[in-house]
């Protein structure tokens, strides 16, 4: 089993949102200056299949560290599949396979000997529909740390508080940590799921249409949260919502029928796309 040698991340101290101010040196969202950040994920010639059905065709895509990368495109274009290869969740689907290369900080994610349990600990995932466990709010956030026993240094309670603060949920739930997570509203549940994911101390967060089941206000709070989390985590978000992509992401990749059509800084892609299909899609002419 190979484990991923990573630079020591914030595993022991999930960063609170206050530190984001110190990181203002990072390129501001939507800035035209090409970000020269470290590359977190490299995909080379990535193709993927479900049984005989090819859903990704030779994707080459780099994703920078500590940035938000939005994957957009019409339904069935393969963006969710790509996301689910980044933490090998596709392993659970019979008949799913992939060719090519995905490197996360230089480690090949498609290596059959890779320890996927270890990988998923370092790559958090937030799903389309909020899926809290039918346990208390505290137990939901503590689930991952307990699983991996990574709370030895910090107190578990402290870790839970920090994670809930980082997901902007602490003030709303601090008085009812022991009550069921199912009593929260949809937006709160989704932020709880984000807290649960970051409590494990990942350095990459995958979000699969995290707002599609939420009302506009909850969506706004999640988007704000994503912008804050960018200071600490590399985020890859799949979204159907064009405005959302333009609001939260630094770079955008447009997929169509399993192919990567165009990628670039979000403002460039949305204002002066090179490809006709991109322009048609982002302006709402199809899709």
């Amino acid at each position: 089993m190979k484990t991923i040698p990573l630079p020591k991340t914030n595993m022991d101290q999930p960063t609170t949102t206050s530190t984001s101010a110190e990181q203002s040196a990072a390129p501001a969202m939507g800035s035209a200056v090409a970000p020269r950040a470290e590359i977190a994920i490299e995909m080379q010639n990535l193709s993927a299949w479900y049984s005989k059905n090819q859903v990704l065709h030779a994707i080459d895509l780099d994703i920078s560290a500590k940035q938000v990368c939005a994957l957009i495109g019409p339904s069935g274009c393969g963006k969710s599949t790509l996301l689910r290869w980044l933490n090998r969740m596709n392993d659970t689907i019979p008949g799913a396979r992939a060719n090519g290369k995905i490197l996360l900080h230089g480690v090949s994610l498609l290596d059959p000997t890779l320890d996927v349990v270890d990988l998923r600990r370092r790559v958090g995932m937030v799903f389309q529909k909020p899926n809290p466990f039918p346990k208390s709010i505290f137990d939901n956030v503590a689930f991952g740390p307990r699983l991996h026993r990574i709370y030895s240094r910090t107190d578990l309670e402290e870790l839970v508080e920090e994670s809930l603060r980082a997901s902007a949920l602490w003030d709303e739930v601090k008085d009812r940590l022991e009550s069921s997570a199912l009593g929260l509203s949809g937006g709160q549940q989704q932020r709880l799921c984000i807290a649960r994911a970051i409590a494990v101390g990942p350095e990459l967060l995958l979000m699969d249409e995290p707002c599609s089941a939420l009302d506009p206000r909850s969506t706004a709070s999640i988007e704000e949260l994503i912008r804050e989390l960018r200071a600490t985590y590399t985020i890859v978000i799949v979204t159907h919502n064009m405005q959302q992509a333009s609001r939260v992401s630094d770079t955008t990749a447009f997929f169509y029928e399993g192919k990567l059509v165009e990628t670039g800084p979000t403002d460039v892609l949305f204002t002066t796309p090179k490809e006709r299909r991109t322009e048609d899609y982002v302006t709402g002419r199809f899709g």
Binding site: T92, P94, V117, F127, P132, G144, L147, L182, G183
Partner: protein, 312 residues
Amino acid sequence: MKTGRPIAQSRRMLSNRLMLVACLGATTIAVLVLSALLITIAIEGTGALSWSFLTSFASRKPAQAGILAPLMGSVWVCAICAVVAIPVGIGTAIYLEEYARRSRLKSLIQLNISNLSGVPSIVYGILALVAFVRFFGIRSADDPWTFGNAESIFYLQIPFGPSVIAGGLTLALVVLPIMIIASQEALRAVPQSLRQAALALGSTQWQVVWHVTLPAALPTIMTGAILSMSRAIGEAAPLLVIGGFLLVFQTPTNLMSDFTVLPLQIYNWAGRPQTDFHQIAAAAIIVQLIVLLAFNSIAIIIRQKLQRPLQS
């Protein structure tokens, strides 16, 4: 409405009424038959029901006969059945639902389990007679392998002979398919999104089962387990085949003890010509019904108290 309604509508009203009457009739028949049964049994049996009836052994004289031996026999046999069938059933269900990938083998196993739940229990009795009581004839009953001494409750001889453990294992065979199917349905009712959440946090397959799926499914599994046990406690046929005794004058003391169970005792008494025995048979039926009712009430309580929503 002075003018006549369109014919089509009145016809619909008529068939509506007719169906209501038919369904009500069906329900009434079921309730009537059941209450007739219960009332006859109550009239016949309550006279014979007393404390001494519960605490004495069988007798040739109906007035002195009691059901201590079958009552304790039922307890022993059911306990053994539960200890074997519940873990094996849950384990099988976990394998089939959580681990096994879709394959020919899995569908074959699944098909067989569904079929087995429909096999008459007497067939299991025949299997148990060969496998447990006679041990396939590999070793003679006159010269058994012996483990432990006769004072210990875990005293064991192979072949088992018509003993408590043979009876318990036989009933375990009978209820195992039911137990497996009930547990599988409970596991299947756990939303896939919870498993995905746990996997995405870096759980191993077993951690998903242990921390998420099993706790969520447990109330339903327990309900299934208790209903399986209430099936087991009512079985007479397979135990008759393996040679459960009809007249036993002692309560079981270890796994190799002779035994009888309530349904066998009822069968024995009800088959006798003397009407006095029919009375104590009715009394034994009342006891059996109370035990069954208690089991089912526990199942209902678990279902109502422990079952919480798994999704909002």
